[in-house]
């Protein structure tokens, strides 16, 4: 037949892909570095008071002086994020599966989940203190609560996304329900599940800090409030940066897993060369 007349296009190598990635982000990194320099220079040149806006260098030196204490708090917060997030993933994906494949679950449980989603979850945090005290548990539960809904909703959409014609094709092979699920429905659902996982990951750090704000004696949220009360603005900045880095690390960890689990989807998003007949 005729399509073979067109030669296959060469594929970009892995090192070339890394180079392209760096080039794409070089601009953003440069702008970021520039912003920090402008901040440093402007604060010093305009004589802005340190408790209003400390220069980046001061944020760094203050952080370094107390990094043992702060890193201890960061570890506590990280544990809360990871435990809560892991719990959310462990509960929401199987639940989504049950809702997607059981009419009863879809009609009885799903509407309740949709309704509960409307509740501002952060408003529940004080209640968790009454129920579970000041320790680790209420923080984990709030992280769970915030991460849970986006993962459930996205996973349900993913499991239900199978195209009718694909399933009809599969039925003409006589495949069992389990085989169809493993070979078609599950891989098909993964991109949407990962979208939910990433949204959940982004919310997890927020949830942990809010839970610590409400009542705690350790963690970055607790330290943040302490330093804020002392008008120790450089330390407030240091903790905000640290929190952002933790959030970013969790998010990118999920994204790396996504790249490993569904490379076909990631490469599809970044597909640059045009298809030919």
């Amino acid at each position: 037949m005729s399509a073979g007349a067109v030669a296959a296009l060469p594929r970009p190598s892995r090192s070339a892909a890394v180079g392209a990635w760096l080039r794409k982000r070089a601009g953003a990194m440069l702008v970021f570095a520039l912003l920090i320099v402008v901040w440093e220079v402007a604060v010093r040149a305009l004589g802005i008071k340190e408790y209003l806006l400390p220069p980046p260098s001061k944020v760094w030196t203050e952080f370094w002086k107390r990094h043992d204490l702060v890193m201890g708090g960061a570890w506590v917060t990280t544990q809360e994020i990871l435990a809560g997030y892991a719990l959310a993933v462990a509960v929401s994906v199987p639940l989504a599966l049950a809702i997607a494949y059981s009419r009863f679950m879809e009609q009885s449980v799903y509407p309740v989940i949709v309704f509960l989603q409307i509740i501002p979850k952060i408003a529940i945090a004080p209640l968790f203190i009454i129920w579970f005290g000041f320790g680790f548990t209420p923080k984990v539960l709030l992280v769970f609560l915030l991460s849970f809904f986006p993962i459930v909703v996205a996973s349900i959409a993913g499991f239900k996304s199978a195209d009718r014609d694909v399933m009809d094709f599969a039925r003409t092979t006589g495949a069992s329900g389990l085989r169809m699920f493993l070979k078609i429905s599950l891989p098909q659902a993964l991109p949407q599940i990962f979208t939910g996982l990433k949204v959940g990951a982004a919310l997890a750090a927020t949830a942990a800090v809010v839970a610590e704000f409400v009542a705690s004696d350790k963690g970055l949220g607790y330290l943040l409030l302490q330093y804020n009360g002392q008008l120790d603005t450089p330390m407030v900045f240091a903790i905000i940066v640290l929190l952002s880095l933790i959030g970013l690390a969790v998010y990118y960890a999920v994204e790396i897993i996504e790249r490993i689990a569904i490379p076909w989807h990631v490469s599809q998003q970044g597909a640059t060369h045009d298809a030919v007949l």
Partner: protein, 294 residues
């Protein structure tokens, strides 16, 4: 286990040779009614009305008709994907109850699995059947070469054009060497030139095998150029208007359009669609309700 891809069975040159063959797909009084709503408010839509059709072994049969004439429903009934409301459906002498597995199926969309490359998309046919795909790799590569995708076996669907994806879907429908190939408007989403090429290539591919093909299309040209017999259907309720033998020697190639038999058959089908209000002649006022038959 492994059969050779090409079989030297001569394609029937005319309808008489085909008529002598055994009936492979047999429909008797097949009707399909969809019901919406309950009780007094229930409304029945007659998608198909009393269809009698026999597809002979090794025959290339095309069904042509406008959208909504039930031709896709008919294909799904034969595949056992939809139950018929009335009538008897037999494939290979056995009544159809539930999805049929001794066939290959191609839809208008290629429905390839995005996470598998072309070769693995062909082999999934076997994996879903619980068959070890490894012994079939060689056969799959041969099939991919036949459909012009030899250089694209390791590519993923998103790297292919629409025509190439559909070629992969055709290879997937042939890998397990089932005697029946069902094609539901397989070229419907392709541009005119790709479509023409696919049509030529499909004829060559079919002539190299001994498959029974049911080909659904809304293109009069495509039906007449490809098929041994063309079934003309009209809409609402879907029913068979006419069955005609197409006696054009194969391979039909690009010249077949000038063949008197092509011109005659195409004109007859057009005439049926004009009479049924599916088509409206130049200068004719189009009724506002569309093309419902009187």
């Amino acid at each position: 286990m492994l059969k050779v891809v090409t079989k030297a069975v001569p394609a029937p040159a005319d309808g008489d040779a085909a008529a002598a063959r055994r009936v492979y797909v047999d429909l008797r009084g097949v009707a399909k009614t969809y019901r919406r709503g309950h009780g007094a408010a229930a409304r029945a839509t007659h998608a198909l009305e009393a269809v009698d059709l026999a597809i002979r072994e090794g025959e290339f049969l095309a069904i042509v008709g406008p959208s909504g004439c039930g031709k896709s429903t008919l294909l799904r009934i034969i595949a056992g994907l939809h139950p018929a409301s009335e009538g008897v459906v037999e494939v290979g002498g056995k009544p159809v109850a539930g999805p049929q597995t001794n066939l290959g199926i191609v839809f208008q969309s290629p429905v390839l699995l995005e996470w598998r490359n072309v070769l693995d998309n062909v082999l999934v046919q076997l994996e879903l059947r619980g068959v070890d795909p490894r012994p079939y790799r060689e056969r799959a590569m041969k099939l991919l070469a036949q459909v012009g995708l030899a250089d694209f076996a390791d590519r993923h669907p998103h790297e292919l054009s629409g025509g190439m994806r559909q070629r992969a879907a055709i290879a997937r429908a042939l890998i397990h060497d089932a005697p029946l190939l069902l094609m539901d408007e397989p070229f419907g989403a392709l541009d005119a030139l790709t479509r023409e090429q696919m049509r030529l290539d499909l004829e060559a591919l079919w002539m190299a095998t001994n498959k029974t093909v049911l080909f659904i299309t809304h293109s009069i040209d495509e039906a007449v150029l490809l098929a041994d017999r063309v079934v003309v259907m009209s809409p609402r309720p879907g029913r068979i208007e006419q069955v005609m033998d197409i006696r054009i020697p194969r391979p039909r190639g690009l010249e077949a359009r000038r063949h008197p038999a092509f011109v005659e058959a195409a004109e007859r089908i057009t005439g049926i669609f004009l009479a049924r209000g599916v088509l409206h002649g130049a200068g004719q006022v189009v009724p506002p309700t569309g093309g419902d038959p009187p």
